[in-house]
Symmetry: C3
Subunit: 151 residues, 3 copies
């Protein structure tokens, strides 16, 4: 009779799943940005990788400013997106109002995309603003999950 | 009739959800510790961040001992808490005894909190002890998940 | 009547759970490789850890080539395995054909194990090949999740 909460028939779950999939791909996409810069700049972390770079112009170093910027951004994703993925799922199980839930997911993904643009462009204080917007979204859901759970 | 396993009506799931939410917030909280130290010490990783520090006393460096300690601890969380979040959920699906399950979750969170205190305080061998306690808790659940699954 | 999709009675879920548990343990196992090298080589990141090394031969440094290689590999796991864990679960909810699904899980784990061997052995272009095989597996599942979800 009643559809399961954990099902694409539940609109809140279907929304969570779409945003979770996009956030996962966004995070993984940072690898492609790093690979692009490594190949075009000939800057690698492992000696055996240097054969991929422009001939006679490759180097092993871990302090290239553009590449390390991408890696710092990627690490920031690692710190924030996996918690969102799990907490968002548990939040769906608390059966939140559909509108409120969907806006949580939208706010998180939008914040992370804007955070990415600001990090790559070196834009402060906007990077901080969008970081904390995404952070607050996940904390908001986590608080509701903990409140509904039992210790 | 029977409540779904994946529901806050299942006491084991409700317990998992509460500890998963707390562990997620604990991990994300490391960012706030890093931000606190960066703002008070004026030590940043990006040139555009220096406007946030104390006037005329900010610097871009990635080797401040206190800040790098917090970042090493944060990375250790990244290595251990996301696996717990997913494995813990799958473990709930194996329908473990309620008492055993809840103590797994409590042992994990307590271990990680004590690990954090010991890392910040530089206390060995206690940091190693609490690290391996949390590690063993996750492995214990993962083994039960794999045993119940099919390859 | 009908078994829940999120249940070990669902063969696709049981397969996902087994591979998710193994992938989690594989990722966590990288810590043990790091610890092994630190203890035998006496190379640590924190001053208080040096008491664990061979007497009179320990040092605090963060640029040992073997240990940093293991840590780069571990970080690559952090970038790829948590997204697989979550996306794989959501993919199960899309009710894929059992054969196709199980081969996604097998391809991912096999790719990551071969990637690990190639990273430790410094084998290119094989490391890149297996990296992108695992990457493509997760993206394939994520695309199907997003397509079934709603924005």
């Amino acid at each position: 009779m009643a559809d399961s909460v954990v099902s694409f028939n539940n609109p809140v779950f279907a929304s969570y799943a779409a945003y979770a999939g996009l956030a996962s791909m966004k995070m993984m996409g940072m690898t492609l940005v790093t690979v692009y810069h490594r190949l075009t700049k000939g800057v690698f972390m492992n000696p055996e990788d240097t054969s991929f770079g422009p001939k006679d112009k490759t180097v092993v170093r871990t302090d290239h400013p553009v590449i390390e910027r991408v890696r710092r951004l990627h690490r920031n994703d690692l710190e924030n997106i996996p918690p969102f993925l799990v907490v968002g799922f548990l939040y769906v199980l608390t059966k939140p109002s559909s509108d409120v839930a969907v806006w949580h997911f939208r706010a998180f993904l939008a914040s992370r995309l804007l955070h990415t643009a600001c990090y790559l462009g070196g834009l402060q204080p906007w990077r901080a603003v969008f970081f904390f917007a995404g952070f607050a979204t996940t904390v908001s859901m986590a608080v509701q999950v903990v409140a509904k759970g039992s210790l």
